[in-house]
């Protein structure tokens, strides 16, 4: 498949489907949809520029675009907010980018059966502004809450900061309509009823079409869960003199059984050292504040107040010191912009350089966190020894299970990268480091990714190892549903499904 497949007649056909105002072949529309915020080989930008961008407004238009792509064998890449950190929305073989941003309508609000039906281009913050009037919310709360969209949340099977209380995207999306890679429109959920949360009928297809990174189709409508808008919010940040105490305290807080507890997050010493460079809340902290554990609760006032008292007691009894209301409340309210804003890092001599933020994420069990932390920091330190353009921004571990905040943790190491200085050698070393980080996660019984997905260069090489026998099933599913390899080709090593040629 090459760029030349998108010829003028194809563009005319796309205009016939989506309308003249919703098809863009100009350079800036295409170049701006070539990357996502994850570090990107900027010296190879041109390889990822799509041939044409369409912004459909209906499911039928999306279906027609996909059918056209099959007729002409042109790759199709779905794109929502473009904030995904595993390059899911980055075209690997040019083709057509289907940007769902104009499909941003609320289609139905059902306050009796507690659902809201939306198009995939809607953003959760905007949706909740509307829902607020009715005393309900849709509680999918990623750090990218202001900028990611429902379609991308489903495409990645996202993780929510308050998932310990309310569940994550896969728990909160009840059913959805999807355009299959061959263009047919179907609904998937738990069984057939669009507003049914639990069914035992047939295969559980919702999960198959959740987190596939655009390789199995394009979501065009979704029925979402509504929960009562919380009466009360409580956040408590505790400080600790060492990692061991903070890690044990994290486990105790997460296992407390408090039903309103939405999340517990542990920041390690590297993260604290990083925050002390620039962060208003941490610069003034005394030296013996080496690790921090943050907690948050939501619910009715009658539940949250006594729960919060118990939580404060557990934090104190396990060695934590409450950091005060200003930090606890202010930092919790900053949860959506804390990581996106630091657009600079440091060289080892302390000089400030422009850097972009990257995070490697994995699911790791509580018992394994200390060992994984040591190994991950070693990998990044070795990288930094060779190339000055990498900067270790520390790690955090955040409760990962849905509705019960214990067991395993979304574990992240944040790395600053001076992108403008990337060349092939540094990029290859980075990709190798990512592969090494993923290998540690697997060796410790974890999963390569808790929320972003695992289809970027480096970690993707280990997906077959993590999936085991499931990897063959994954390839068979891809080939059956997408016989011509149209949907987001090249992602997740799924070209291997076609090694003996297209079906």
């Amino acid at each position: 498949m090459t760029a030349t497949l998108v010829t003028d007649p194809v563009i005319d056909e796309l205009i016939g489907i989506c309308g003249p105002d919703n098809v863009f072949a100009d350079k800036s529309s295409r170049v701006n949809r070539a990357r996502v915020p994850a570090p990107f080989p900027v010296h190879r930008w041109a390889e990822h520029v799509p041939d044409v961008v369409v912004l459909p407004t209906t499911a039928e238009q999306v279906s027609e675009v996909v059918k056209l792509a099959n007729r002409h064998r042109i790759p199709v890449v779905p794109r929502a907010g473009g904030t995904g950190l595993t390059d899911g929305a980055v075209p690997l073989r040019q083709g057509i980018v289907v940007d769902v941003k104009l499909m941003n309508k609320i289609l139905e609000l059902d306050l009796d059966d507690r659902t809201v039906t939306v198009q995939p281009g809607i953003n959760m913050l905007k949706l909740n502004e509307e829902l607020q009037k009715y005393g309900v919310i849709y509680p999918d709360d990623p750090a990218s809450y202001p900028c990611s969209l429902v379609g991308g949340r489903i495409g990645t099977s996202g993780w929510s900061l308050i998932g310990g209380r309310y569940g994550h995207t896969r728990d909160l999306v009840i059913s959805f309509q999807i355009v299959l890679p061959t263009g047919e429109l179907i609904w998937v959920g738990d069984g057939g009823g669009r507003k049914v949360r639990k069914s035992s009928t047939g295969y559980q297809l919702k999960h198959l079409f959740m987190g596939h990174q655009g390789t199995l189709g394009i979501v065009t409508e979704a029925v979402l869960e509504l929960v009562p808008r919380p009466e009360a919010e409580f956040a408590a940040f505790f400080s600790y003199p060492d990692y061991e105490t903070a890690w044990r305290s994290t486990g105790a807080l997460a296992r407390s059984g408090l039903a309103t507890l939405a999340g517990v997050v542990l920041f390690d010493e590297w993260k604290l050292a990083y925050l002390r460079r620039d962060d208003e809340a941490y610069i003034p902290q005394p030296d013996d504040v080496r690790c921090v554990v943050a907690t948050a609760m939501y619910g009715t006032t009658d539940e949250v107040r006594p729960g919060a008292k118990r939580l404060l007691r557990i934090g104190k009894d396990t060695g934590g010191a409450y950091l005060g209301d200003e930090i606890s409340q202010g930092d919790w309210a900053s949860r959506h912009d804390r990581y996106a804003t630091p657009l600079h890092g440091r060289l080892r001599d302390g000089q400030v350089v422009p850097m972009s933020w990257h995070c490697e994420d994995a699911s790791i069990n509580w018992t394994q966190l200390p060992a994984v932390r040591e190994k991950w920091h070693d990998i990044v330190a070795r990288l930094g020894d060779r190339f000055r353009i990498f900067d270790d921004w520390g790690m955090f571990a955040y409760t990962n299970a849905a509705f019960k905040p214990w067991g395993d943790y979304l574990t992240e190491i944040d790395v600053g990268i001076w992108e403008q200085e990337l060349d092939d050698e540094a990029w290859d070393a980075w990709v190798t480091a990512k592969r090494d980080i993923a290998a540690v996660s697997i060796a410790h019984g974890g999963s390569i990714s808790a929320c972003h997905g695992a289809c970027r260069a480096g970690e993707v090489d280990l997906v077959p190892e993590e999936m085991g026998g499931g990897w063959d099933v994954m390839k068979k599913v891809k080939r059956v549903l997408d016989p011509l390899n149209i949907m987001n080709p090249g992602k997740y090593l799924l070209d291997q499904a076609y090694e003996d040629g297209p079906s």
Binding site: E233, A236, L312, H336
Partner: protein
């Protein structure tokens, strides 16, 4: 509309907080300018604009609390009533 005032333009002189941080305005910590020399130049920024950003930050945080829940429970208050 307030016209030009020199005092609103020029921030106060910096006070050293630690080896890598200085402060000129309450709540605003700044990277030591000596660390922004080789690759990244520090910009001059009018004091009134820094204050505007700080104020709008407080507004944003209050907005985010109100966006998610009707009230915020205070840990300090809960601890003061703990027997």
């Amino acid at each position: 509309m307030i016209g030009f005032r020199l005092s609103a333009q020029r921030p106060p002189d910096p006070r050293r907080i630690n080896d890598v941080v200085v402060q000129r305005i309450e709540h605003v910590y700044e990277v030591d300018p000596a660390l922004m020399r080789d690759h990244f130049q520090q910009h001059d920024f009018p004091a009134w604009d820094t204050r505007r950003i700080v104020d709008s930050r407080w507004e944003h945080l209050a907005w985010m609390h109100a966006h998610w829940a009707d009230s915020v429970v205070s840990g300090e208050e809960l601890m003061s009533t703990e027997e």
